[in-house]
Symmetry: C2
Subunit: 421 residues, 2 copies
């Protein structure tokens, strides 16, 4: 620890979640509790873009009450971004710019709160700092609704999405069951999750016994076979009167193509999805002649702070606090992890993993979490998922609506000339 405290920087990255601001709250509150270690805590406006543009926010200008209210504020309070830094060789000047900004503001610790792509960025920032002889600790705080980061038992943001998925299909299932005699018999809930089926799997928690919704789950890990799928839908309608389906947007065909490409792609080169449910509904109407409704959860599920998992909220706070504690202990180039100690009663703690082993690795569903027929979750999966949706953590309400905080997001005066683009 240096005698004179340096500053720290926190930035949010990638798709936001219902609880990423809880991690922000934890970082800010923990750093504030140690003024001898961290002089000021800055935040990047719109994530790493704000660092590149030297558009920094002074979190010290916010009241303790405003920071505490981040706990129940979905979205990213400082703005997030989808912007993937290229390889060091391809775009060395961008990394040099990052270090220049950090240096201009005497920032000694970089907290990056994001998913797999962000872990890669965090790692590279740590590396370039070393190369350029700039003393910097870079610590990654996990966040992704997709739950696809390796080396952590789960990812903050996922538990709440999982709860949304399970609650929604249980409620919609009861609706469809009561309509099925003369109207809708098939219902599809399309959930986000590009490559891993975790968010779809979580819907399976709603079915505690045979016949309960969802009767079918479509995972990106299982190649979509239209005939098998339609046969399973028909069998469910015959047996249970209806069929409630949770379908992952990332569903692929035998040629590994997304079933429904929207045509565009995002800043990371990922295909932008969204049209799966209409496609499945059309097939069900055309080939089975059954009335079908669908919902597309999209951002509603990852923003649904109103139905957040209490476990998720607690873990989002814990990883933020642990990141600051790790920094104080001298760590760098690591991601904070969640380590499961027991399933039931659920016990967990935080740990760390080297960023080299985290960056750009996607954790898919283990095959033994999916039933042999490929349409549901196993008991092993249920044991894994169940603690993650446990507990409710309701936001405060006024006039019938959940309250959130809006930070002042006061800019830190610039020290450098504008970035050359």
């Amino acid at each position: 620890m240096s005698a004179r405290p340096r500053h720290a920087l926190y930035a949010q990255s990638g798709g936001v979640t219902a609880v990423i601001n809880v991690s922000a709250q934890a970082v800010i509150e923990t750093a504030r509790a140690h003024p001898g270690h961290f002089a000021r805590l800055y935040a990047g406006r719109n994530g790493i873009l704000g660092v590149l543009d030297e558009d920094l926010i002074d979190t010290g200008a916010e009241s303790a009450g405003a920071i505490a209210a981040l706990r129940h504020t979905p979205g990213g309070a400082f703005g997030s971004c989808r912007y993937k830094l290229k390889g060091l060789d391809q775009h060395r000047s961008e990394y040099e710019r990052l270090i220049a900004v950090l240096r201009a503001h005497d920032i000694g610790t970089f907290f990056y709160n994001g998913g797999g792509d962000s872990a890669d960025t965090c790692l590279k920032v740590a590396q370039i700092g070393r190369e350029l002889g700039y003393p910097l600790q870079a610590i990654h705080i996990p966040k992704t609704m997709d739950n696809d980061l390796p080396l952590t038992d789960c990812c903050p943001g996922f538990g709440s999405v999982a709860k949304y998925s399970a609650v929604s299909i249980r409620e919609a299932g009861l609706d469809v069951a009561s309509m099925a005699a003369s109207s809708t018999q098939v219902f599809i809930l399309e959930v986000m999750g590009r490559h891993a089926g975790w968010t779809a799997a979580a819907g399976g928690l709603a079915a505690t016994r045979a016949g309960e919704a969802p009767q079918l789950i479509l995972f990106p890990e299982i190649v979509f076979d239209e005939d098998r799928f339609l046969a399973a839908v028909e069998a469910s309608v015959k047996r249970w009167g209806y069929c409630a389906i949770v379908a992952s947007e990332g569903l692929r065909d035998a040629e590994n193509r997304f079933l429904s490409e929207a045509g565009g792609s995002d800043a990371f080169g990922h295909a932008q999805l969204g049209g799966l449910a209409p496609l499945l509904a059309q097939r069900i109407k055309q080939r089975l002649g059954r009335k079908c409704h669908y919902a597309v959860a999209d951002y509603l599920m990852r923003a649904a702070r109103h139905i957040a998992s209490a476990t998720d909220v607690e873990q989002a706070y814990a990883v933020g606090r642990a990141a600051v504690e790790q920094a104080m202990a001298g760590a760098s180039g690591v991601m904070v992890t969640i380590e499961r100690l027991a399933d039931s009663p659920y016990r967990w703690t935080t740990g760390t993993a080297p960023l080299e082993q985290v960056a750009n690795v996607e954790k898919k569903m283990p095959r033994d979490f999916i039933t042999a027929d490929g349409f549901h979750i196993t008991e092993a999966c249920r044991r894994y998922l169940l603690p993650l949706i446990a507990g409710e953590d309701y936001p405060p309400y006024a006039d019938g609506l959940p309250l959130h905080t809006e930070l002042a997001n006061t800019a830190v005066p610039r020290q450098l000339p504008p970035r050359r683009l």
Copy 2:
């Protein structure tokens, strides 16, 4: 009142809601409290279809605890149906069959819990009872997420959908706002509501000041003009950085065609909708070149008991109780209504309206509830809507999921030969 108590029948009709079972609970609990007036309370399995098929349920077989738990059970506990009885002239035999079933079970009171189509059925059952000299009281209990029944200040089921709409667009708006610098700038929430814009209007409650989500609302009452819409989207992105939109599935073009017909139609001859949001998103991407996400709420919104409005739950109970009290007072051919006494603080009571004035009348949004530009709600609309979403009424949870009841739904022995179809 007859010396010997006769039986009563309760049936659910049309699309179910998060709180229709609360009305069922109220009817059952209130009838049970007056055994001198109602011998048994039966329910139609799958609504009026169960009456036609003489497939009746004895609610007396359910425990008090099971009935109490209807309060937090979305969907229709006895099954609902989409089945519209034809006119008396066209299908007199169907009405005669209804009366035959009621007569076979000595049912003196018919409680029908539904929307506008059901009010029409309830009225006709009352009429044919009179014609055939069968002593029957027919009482309609309002229920519709669409809020389109006349002569009642609002409809049970709507307040909870309204709350879902407002909560969802507030949360998703915070998400999009934080992504807009480098990713999604436009978000569309498609909500149910075929002909009236109430459910879309409710989303507007989330915007308490200029710039808050939703920036735009698309009402079925306002003819869709693509150029004006896209210009408004672009203006919002330029001014506020993003644009969050609530769009009613019932949006129509200048030729009065639904913007997105799914091709099918339901049992009432209504076109089945659902493809609006993908269409709007496509236009935004193609013509504005802006990244757009969409969610389709569909059944999730009307089943979302987890975020029900406490006001709605209270009113759903009140109309059920009032229906039974009206029956005991000798009423027939009426719908129970909700009468607003004051906006703020909100005060209301129940009343009645003649079914002749209710049946097949749709209450659209008054034009002065929609801003002059057609894209948002006025203060008058806000005053009307705000009390309806007030308060939270959370269901109990176990293992992270909301609990619901499943009734035994014990069949009443049949007295008649099967219906000739």
